[in-house]
Symmetry: C2
Subunit: 364 residues, 2 copies
């Protein structure tokens, strides 16, 4: 099937670009102390996770039990739920899953530790639990240093649990635009991890699993000598927002290519300055900015509504007509992927793969 | 099942509130010239559409052929696709659907008219086509007046088509905050419709179907004496953004109640000033503002990420604990609904209905 025959809106993967992104990240960790554990919350597809495993990833991260179930049942043998899970039904599912695969989870509160322990005992498993440390993102996570050791000791004492390491993702560093800002944020995170590891050492607890990093900062986590894993997700697809980061060379970052697009059709050209496409807020999300029109200089997406995207032309004589198609680069890939049921994998304008977005809507 | 047992995040309907909203809108049109044709792009559920039909609605609107298919197959006999449809495969589906139900569609370009005609002829149906007029929203639609008559004549001449009326939705008026702004926008729209109807009259074309209006302005469309139908959608659920409109009495509009919520669980309370819930950008959308925490004064959602919502407390001694649940009022109901697979209908904290969001993801 030709790309031109695909119904719009559709979520398109440029397979050549994605494969180059896959290899680029695999090469980045070669010969370093870090392993790749890509974040599956981004792509929600065991099919794509298996491509990452084939390039050397040790497993994946998930944020939700339902995502972890989709990954394990899709053939991923090692899943870190890089999040706190609350709710005994969810924990029963998590503990059941730990009978089938290596499954770890995070904690930042004694309440979670107590309920994790109860679930692990009920299912006869030992759950590896990481302490989540707040290294600057100020979302979840205990304060660095002694509080980390306190929670780790509680985990280690809890029947059915094992203290496994540190979850230390500096999420707020990923989209800082200037390279120096990102570097400083990760330097600060590293200092806080070091302090936490020392506190653990004083408490007699070893820590050989320190996991974090994102597409915006991963080279700093590699350089830290402390992190043992990267949780990068967006590198696979690159969205418009990540592409607004400035790299060390002063140019927009360009080590990864845009590989994810929303294919849309022009349904209206009511006036020369404006065209309207059939893809809006139900085909991409805009909390990280409007989509960027790919490969059409002078054509800008300026406004969106539920089912429409409004394109504006710097030159009103632009020949884009009703019935023609455009490729939009989404502002933020994770929640955009979560809107769609299928990936359409395309190479040289031919459809080569159709992958279900297995964990779409898996939010529990 | 009790509400307390529902897994989070979940999309909850307060059935009592929704039923009051249903009745309130049915009463608003009683004794007037307008009929109700609620917009199903909002709820995407034939189950809810049937509740609207039972309260006197003449049919529903949809934006997409796939939505229209879901509605007709779910028992809705009359669907207006209040949008331009481009793509011959979609038009074949639309024309096929027109054999099963009353199906109308909109046009603002001769290209669409030509393709609609080809599809209607191929399926042996007569498609009613409305001319979409741009009455101020500056999205799709031809300019008011003579251009409307020109396109209407083209429709009327096209084999398999029938000129049916005007699509005249003033979308940009719906969220203007001050009542005078909304009133003026609709007065202007009405003047432009009048001009268009006169142009149609000169061309010998009658126009007895004029459809538009939204939850923010519908009383003005009723008062116009021109509109024959209301396409209101959000009144059924009311989102946080509509509730920011100021009413004629100078207070936030209060004729409809919040009936749609995202139920979320507190998964972390890392510091006294902050809690984190398990619902983020994959459980609600934020392009019209962050969700509002329902019924908990002094607790505000201040930041969201893909799977997390960050709550801030004006009083850090607030007792909200890990494991407790909150109800979030989404900023914008339409794209929020489109994230979920099920509605959980609740009355007096008991689950009474589980309705599939049949047309979730139906974007083509």
């Amino acid at each position: 099937m030709a790309l031109d025959e695909v119904e719009t809106p559709a979520l398109i993967i440029d397979l050549d670009a994605m494969e180059r992104n896959l290899r680029m990240m695999a090469e980045a960790v070669q010969g370093t102390q870090v392993k790749l554990r890509p974040h599956a919350k981004m792509h929600k597809s065991p099919d794509l996770a298996r491509l990452q495993l084939a390039q050397g990833a040790v497993g994946v991260c998930c944020q939700k039990v339902s995502e972890a179930e989709a990954m394990v049942r899709g053939g991923v043998p090692d899943v870190l739920v890089s999040n706190e899970i609350v709710g005994d039904t969810k924990l029963a599912r998590l503990a059941a899953l730990a009978r089938e695969a290596r499954v770890a989870v995070c904690a930042d509160d004694p309440f979670q530790v107590e309920r994790y322990s109860a679930a692990a005992q009920a299912f006869g498993v030992t759950l590896p639990v990481l302490v989540e440390v707040d290294v600057g993102a100020h979302r979840c996570g205990v304060a660095p240093g002694p509080p980390v050791a306190d929670l780790a000791k509680r985990i280690e004492r809890a029947p059915g649990l094992r203290f496994a390491g540190l979850q230390a993702y500096q999420g707020s560093a990923q989209h800082k635009r200037q390279p120096a800002e990102r570097r400083e944020a990760i330097q600060s995170a590293v200092a806080q991890i070091r302090e936490s590891v020392q506190a653990l050492g004083k408490a007699g607890l070893a820590c050989d699993w320190i996991t974090g990093a994102g597409t915006g900062t991963f080279r700093h986590e590699i350089a830290s000598g402390l992190y043992t894993e990267l949780q990068v997700g967006s590198y696979l697809f690159m969205d418009a927002d990540y592409a607004r980061n400035v790299g060390e060379d002063g140019k927009p970052v360009h080590e990864f290519e845009h590989a994810l697009f929303v294919l849309a059709t022009v349904i209206s050209r009511p006036v020369p300055e404006r065209a309207v496409v059939d893809a809006g807020l139900k085909a991409y999300t805009t909390e990280s900015g409007l989509p960027v029109v790919h490969g059409l200089p002078g054509v800008e997406c300026v406004r969106v509504s539920d089912e429409h995207g409004v394109l504006q032309f710097s030159d009103p004589s632009h020949p884009l007509k009703v019935g023609e198609r455009v490729m939009l680069i989404p502002g933020h890939c994770d929640p955009t992927v979560n809107l769609h049921d299928w990936y359409v994998g395309v190479r040289k304008r031919r459809v080569e793969a159709l992958w279900p977005i297995t964990a779409r809507g898996a939010v529990s």
